[in-house]
Subunit: 202 residues, 2 copies
DNA sequence: CTTATTTGGTTCACAGTGTCAACATTGTTT
DNA sequence: AAACAATGTTGACACTGTGAACCAAATAAG
């Protein structure tokens, strides 16, 4: 009897899983087709029955990474005491974003490594959960509903909040990667605090 | 007589120049050693007399890209009417940053593609000019000098301003890449306006 | 002015990659 | 049972980064 059947059964998801694992270990550049196949114990070209080429696998990995990012944000949301305080919610969303980037730098990089040409980002992950973008929208709508954000600033605020948090994550992983982990948390809170102040002032 | 002498004379800078060109055309991933050598008309391994390996060349290209970024910011600074208005200066610095990213996406990506472990980023480019970081510091110091920013917020403000602008650039090149160019300029101004408001409020 | 030595460029070779074409095996439909 | 489609495999090719050995030219030592 063969160790495993000729047909894997769910090769596609196995490929994505292995790709995710590689991305975790070494970023988007580490996701290499032959290694993925090797880890699953399948021939190099088997992947071509499920993905037209490597970039397509990378896209799938990026999608999974984005879902993981959203999960991290949701986790941070669940940890705050008062879910009705819109400022706390916004801060939690931001922390979840940055923390995911710091905890899973490879996945985070993979999530944004592929050029995507959708005009507007998805509000839901493929599994039906609220996406990172969706959670951010919700947080800012909460702010607006509480009268802390003038509605006409909503769109600019979304862009700005996203940009701030995304940039902060990038900087902490890149040029600011040298700051001691102990100094990081206060830095994150201070930066996010400034964002909130900016969004909610007049 | 040979078409070109055995010794190139300034191969190192030629390699970097070719690398920069490749990065402009296809981002950091497009800078490939053999192609660089091919374009200069030199053997593939010639580069190894000037760089220990490919990543080292990439670092040199990134350095050049950062200098180009600073130049773009300086250019935008030169275009504003009143250089003594600290808010205008800050906005110009931000616009220079984002505009460079949009005009030279490949170079911009290359500039930040290499993991650098300096604790604090350089304030000057190798050619003695003020670097992007330096220009940002100057802008925020001007804000503080004008009493528009409380000094104790300076460090967080630097982080925040940099993160916002960097994130905005990344988003416009990535998930928000689909917005029409006509809508982009107002978007940039609105976002940067929010940052300024946030930094200068309270 | 020779002669040694260092610097810079070349050639050959190798392992590893993405991808294509042709083939083999299995599950599904008729 | 036979045709068919879906899925995995094999072999091959062009391309990459990099090491080792070699060679040409500039420079230093005698």
């Amino acid at each position: 009897m063969p160790t495993h059947p000729y047909h894997h059964g769910s090769l596609r998801s196995a490929l994505v899983d292995a790709g995710v694992q590689l991305a975790r270990e070494g970023g988007p550049g580490a996701i290499v087709l032959r290694e993925v196949a090797r880890r699953i114990g399948v021939s190099p070209n088997a992947a071509y029955r499920h993905f037209a080429a490597l970039p397509e696998l990378s896209d799938a990995v990026a999608e999974a990474a984005l879902a993981a990012l959203a999960a991290s944000m949701r986790r941070e949301l669940d940890a705050i005491p008062d879910r009705d305080d819109p400022l706390m919610v916004l801060l939690a969303v931001g922390r979840g974003y940055v923390h995911f980037a710091l905890d899973e730098p490879g996945l985070f990089a993979a999530a944004f490594s592929r050029p995507k040409d959708h005009i507007d980002p998805e509000l839901y992950t493929p599994d039906g959960q609220r996406s990172a973008t969706g959670l951010l929208h919700d947080a800012l709508d909460g702010l607006a509903a509480a009268g802390l954000l003038v509605p006409q600033d909503r769109d600019a605020a979304i862009t700005m909040a996203w940009a701030s948090v995304h940039g902060l994550a990038m900087l902490l992983l890149g040029p600011l990667g040298g700051v001691a982990p102990a100094d990081r948390e206060p830095m994150i809170d201070a930066a996010l605090g400034l964002v909130c102040r900016g969004l909610t002032s007049r």
